[in-house]
């Protein structure tokens, strides 16, 4: 009959957001530790609520596996004399290992035979092993924000108040953080606030369930969701799938009961996002909708407890939401009293970044950058005017009551207020969209004006930080510059217009340096910026599915124009599948290896001697002429195909012509030809970097 082991770490309420990852970590680390200790079991499960982390080991064998410890001794030829008798060396080794010299064994290792002492070890019982390793297991759990409590030095996510450690029905004793492990757990804080004995590790879930704790998170999550859906349909409404909120709610309780409350219908006139934010972000409520997708004046909250026969919990929550919505309503109507454009001046008092002026200044810069990029992109005047207007207004909502109260609504409130102030739809939309993409999987803005505004906003943030010497290091990126740079690159690719990184960076830097005193010069900023963007460009192209070596090949001959770079990467990817690629690669490698060190570049026709040499020269002149236009217009695949025509003449050349001849003029002429050819071949990418 197999026995189970249970470890339960009882804590004060842990932050919901950390629990799922911690349960995962607990399982993984337990498996690693059990493996090292040669403990065998059938399966490991972890369970958690706000007040407990549990590890249940099913079918844990009572002993470690028996094992052998093999200790290497001297080589056989030294351990035994010619007649096969043990020498002093062998006797000494055996004595030291505490075994009879007759029991030494011989093992062949890479052709040499050594003597070995083999110790057969009995596996220890779990009662001895577990107390040794469990404190390490708990200690090994890592938290983003650990804390100390009382007079203890131990750190954990919240104070540890009890520990259950039971193998079958026996306590496995150990002490951690001053808490002695036992077999007493606690029931629900309010429904069964008494200690209860875990009589057997295998009965953990049912014992807690009888004390009103649903410790299995999957089962609890189902109960939560079921309760919400039933209640919604009872109220003739629907809830939208919301995995994140469901997960958070699931780790805020041990025993769920869904409760439906009402709010004043008049608040439905507020923008829906405002209602959702008030309910979801602040109160963890689920909004409900009718079958046309319109919000109902109701909400669902899930309490940690049973029922609400007197409606006390419902009324309390209604009062809280009512107050929040009354505030929101007040802010909204106050905000509507002044036009969005009249707020722009207030931005002079909002600091953008210490040392970089106000947000008002920022909006000025954004407008200038829009003019610069619109001209480069050859956008029409109306587009540019819309984008400039949007840039002028895009941060004005930071001074509204609504955004001060609900910062996550920035951009969105700007959209509503811009529309209300009679701004053009394209301007209002751009204001709404310009923070996108907000996270790595987020969509890009849908409108072109929004895209351009988002681009210059991100660029301004990045260049601003770099101008102050603030750059991401390791895991530290407090201003999310990496994400913003990725978004910026994606937006350029989406526009699909040629634009020089360096021109943009420098232009943006000048926008700062023209107005504020900067300690770092453009040269100081350029280098780290370039290194930073290099990696983002690699990432964005990898995200598009291109291979790392092909990206590297294309980037090593230049990456200053992202759209051009992508064209070259794409051409290389296509061309790499072509059969002539390998032939070309061989020729290229030979040509570039030989001519690498040569400095001259003059090719004189009168110095061409051999036929293959003349043929190669003529082919080169022809291909060079043909590809010039192709390279200029970005027909890189076409150019690569033409260049591949040089393979045969190159092969012939190498077969027939001796390059390093004594006559210096002829030798140099040949090197110059090879150099010209290899540089033509490198105009799209450094082919030698591609791993075929």
């Amino acid at each position: 009959m197999s026995k189970d082991y249970l470890l339960e770490i009882g804590t004060e309420e842990m932050p919901a957001r950390f629990i799922p990852a911690t349960l995962n970590e607990l399982g993984i680390k337990a498996k690693e530790l059990f493996k090292i200790e040669m403990l065998t079991y059938r399966g490991i499960k972890t369970y958690g609520t706000p007040r407990r982390l549990a590890l249940q080991v099913k079918g844990l064998e009572g002993f470690q596996k028996d094992y052998q410890e093999e200790i290497k001794g001297p080589p056989h030829r030294i351990a035994y004399d010619d007649s096969g008798n043990p020498t002093k060396a062998a006797l000494g080794f055996a004595r030291k290992q505490g075994i009879d010299v007759k029991d030494l064994e011989s093992v062949d290792i890479d052709g040499t035979t050594y003597v070995y002492a083999i110790h057969k070890k009995k596996g220890e019982p779990v009662e001895k092993v577990l107390p040794r390793i469990l404190p390490d297991l708990i200690k090994s759990l890592e938290f983003a924000k650990p804390m100390r409590w009382g007079d203890k030095e131990t750190r954990f996510v919240r104070p540890i108040r009890w520990i259950v450690s039971v193998y079958d029905s026996e306590i496995i004793h150990f002490t951690y953080a001053g808490v002695e492990a036992g077999n007493l757990t606690k029931g629900h804080r309010f429904l069964a606030n008494k200690e209860v004995e875990v009589t057997n590790a295998s009965r953990y879930l049912e014992i807690l369930e009888s004390r009103k704790v649903i410790v299995d998170q999957d089962k609890r999550r189902e109960l939560v969701w079921q309760g919400i859906e039933e209640l919604a349909s009872k109220n003739k409404g629907l809830v939208k799938d919301d995995k994140d909120l469901l997960e958070e709610v699931n780790y805020l309780l041990e025993y769920p009961t869904a409760i439906c409350g009402d709010f004043d219908e008049e608040y439905l006139k507020l923008p829906e996002e405002v209602l959702v934010t008030s309910m979801r972000e602040h109160q963890k409520y689920f909004p409900i909708y009718n079958d046309e997708g319109r919000m109902l004046p109701k909400f669902i909250t899930v309490r940690n407890g049973m029922g609400d026969p007197m409606g006390i919990v419902r009324q309390g929550n209604e009062r809280v939401l009512q107050a929040r919505l009354a505030d929101a309503d007040f802010f909204y109507s106050e905000d509507l009293k002044s036009s969005l454009s009249s707020r722009v001046n207030h931005l002079k008092n909002v600091v953008f970044q210490e040392g970089l002026g106000s947000v008002f200044d920022k909006c000025q810069r954004l407008q200038n950058m829009i003019t610069f990029i619109s001209e480069t992109f050859d956008m029409d005047r109306a587009f540019m005017e819309d984008a400039r207007r949007a840039a002028y207004l895009c941060k004005a909502d930071l001074t509204t009551n609504m955004v001060i109260e609900f910062p996550e609504l920035q951009g969105l409130m700007g959209y509503y207020y811009a529309r209300h102030s009679g701004e053009r739809e394209s301007v209002s939309r751009a204001i709404k969209e310009h923070y996108m993409p907000r996270f790595s999987e987020d969509k890009l803005p849908a409108s072109d004006v929004g895209k351009l505004l988002s681009m210059v906003d991100k660029l301004d943030n990045i260049i601003g930080c770099f101008s102050l010497g603030i750059q991401p290091t390791g895991s530290q990126d407090p201003y999310a510059l990496r994400r913003q740079a990725l978004g910026f690159c994606k937006l350029i690719l989406d526009f699909n217009k040629n634009l020089s990184f360096e021109d943009m960076w420098k232009h943006s830097y000048m926008e700062f340096s023209d107005n504020v005193e900067l300690e770092l010069t453009w040269e100081d900023v350029n280098k780290p910026l370039s290194e930073f963007f290099h990696q983002r460009v690699v990432n964005v192209l990898e995200d598009e599915g291109y291979r790392h070596d092909i990206i590297q090949a294309a980037m090593s001959v230049g990456w200053g124009d992202l759209v051009d770079l992508r064209k070259r990467v794409k051409a290389l990817k296509e061309f790499e599948k072509n059969r002539s690629f390998n032939v070309l690669l061989t020729g290229f490698n030979r040509a570039s290896n030989l001519s690498q060190g040569y400095r001259g570049d003059e090719i004189r026709k009168d110095l061409l001697v051999e036929d293959s040499e003349k043929e190669l020269y003529n082919s080169f002149i022809e291909v060079d002429g043909l590809t010039e236009e192709m390279l200029r217009t970005g027909d890189y695949l076409g150019a690569l195909r033409r260049i591949a025509d040089l393979s045969r003449p190159i092969d012939n050349f190498f077969d027939d012509v001796m390059i390093m001849v004594k006559d210096e003029k002829i030798r140099n002429n040949r090197l110059a030809l090879l150099k010209a050819i290899s540089s033509l071949m490198s105009s799209i990418g450094d082919l030698s970097k591609i791993m075929s």
Binding site: E12, E13, M14, P15, A16, R17, P50, K145, M147, R148, W149, G150, D151, R158, P159, R161, R189, F190, L191, L252, L253, Q283, Y285, T301, R303, N304, G305, D308, M310, I312, V313, Q315, G316, N317, R319, V320, L321, Q322, A323, A326, D327, F330, N349, V350, V351, E354, S358
Partner: protein, 283 residues
């Protein structure tokens, strides 16, 4: 239960748990944490258990008495337990029962909330406690104060008295809370809210306040130099409140804001440092 009964019951409850019952500090402060009975006493190794009401002044939060939930001065009931006892959550929940909150009928949650005060160089981890969705208490394990590690760790429990009273009395507006028989919160505080809002937002003489800030700062540094911790800390508190007034008045630009905060934090750090030193010398 009347507002004053909540204060009385909480005081009795915590006195029974061994806390000394103190009175508010006699200088305007923004939160019970800033009272020297918390800010200084959580430093160093000596045990300390205290409870007191603290009128907490936040000039920028005033709403001329128009808003049902926002006030430029509200009352906190502050408990500080050093070192934090193992049963601290249970004690807190018992205190709620003591003021008539039935733990089964209500929904009570401990929701992650990490507290940080840049001005005090202090931070801690803990929760906001929800009563049927309403935040009624801040519960914090002090990790650092004045820039120094707290050893041992203190537990700080800060009850929002208006929130609790409006929940118990089921009032939509703080002004309707019954303070005592026949006298409401509004009877006592509506006029003060109106007047202070006008003063904080419109009337306060900013030139004078800027001068005062500089004078208070200078005095704090001067007194600190003499090793007198408590008088110096009082001037640090005066600086903090003066800064809050200037901010409410819109007299401090955002660029200046950070440097004012840094100046106050420097004073707080200095007081914390001197306190630890003085205590060590006493031993």
């Amino acid at each position: 239960m009347y507002f004053q009964e909540i204060i009385l019951e909480l005081s009795k409850f915590w006195a029974e748990q061994g806390c000394v019952i103190l009175q508010p500090h006699d200088i305007e402060i923004g939160a019970g944490t800033m009272n020297p009975a918390t800010f200084l006493r959580v430093l160093g190794p000596e045990p300390w258990n205290a409870a007191y009401v603290e009128p907490s002044k936040r000039p920028a939060d005033g709403r001329y008495g128009d808003n049902p939930n926002r006030l430029q001065q509200h009352y906190q009931f502050q408990v500080i337990l050093k070192p934090s006892p193992d049963r601290v959550q249970d004690l807190y929940l018992q205190s709620l029962q003591r003021i008539g909150i039935n733990l089964q009928e209500h929904d009570i949650r401990f929701v992650e909330d990490n507290w940080e005060s840049p001005t005090l160089g202090a931070w801690g981890l803990g929760w906001e406690v929800w009563l049927d969705g309403m935040e009624i208490t801040q519960f914090t394990y002090f990790q650092q104060c004045g820039g120094f590690d707290c050893k041992p760790v203190s537990a700080e429990i800060t009850y929002g008295l208006e929130r609790i009273a409006s929940s118990i009395q089921k009032k939509e507006s703080v002004y309707d809370i019954q303070w005592a028989p026949k006298i409401s919160y509004g009877d006592i505080h509506h006029l003060t809210e109106v007047e202070y809002s006008i003063y904080n937002f419109e009337t306060a003489a900013t030139d004078m306040l800027f001068d005062l800030f500089n004078m208070y700062e200078k005095e704090c540094l001067h007194i600190s130099g003499r090793g007198l911790v408590h008088p110096a800390y009082d001037y640090c508190l005066k600086c903090s409140h003066t800064f809050n007034l200037l901010e409410a008045r819109g007299a401090i630009s955002v660029t200046e804001r950070t440097s004012y905060i840094t100046r106050v934090r420097h004073l707080a750090h200095l007081c914390a440092k001197n306190y630890i030193k003085t205590k060590e010398e006493q031993v």
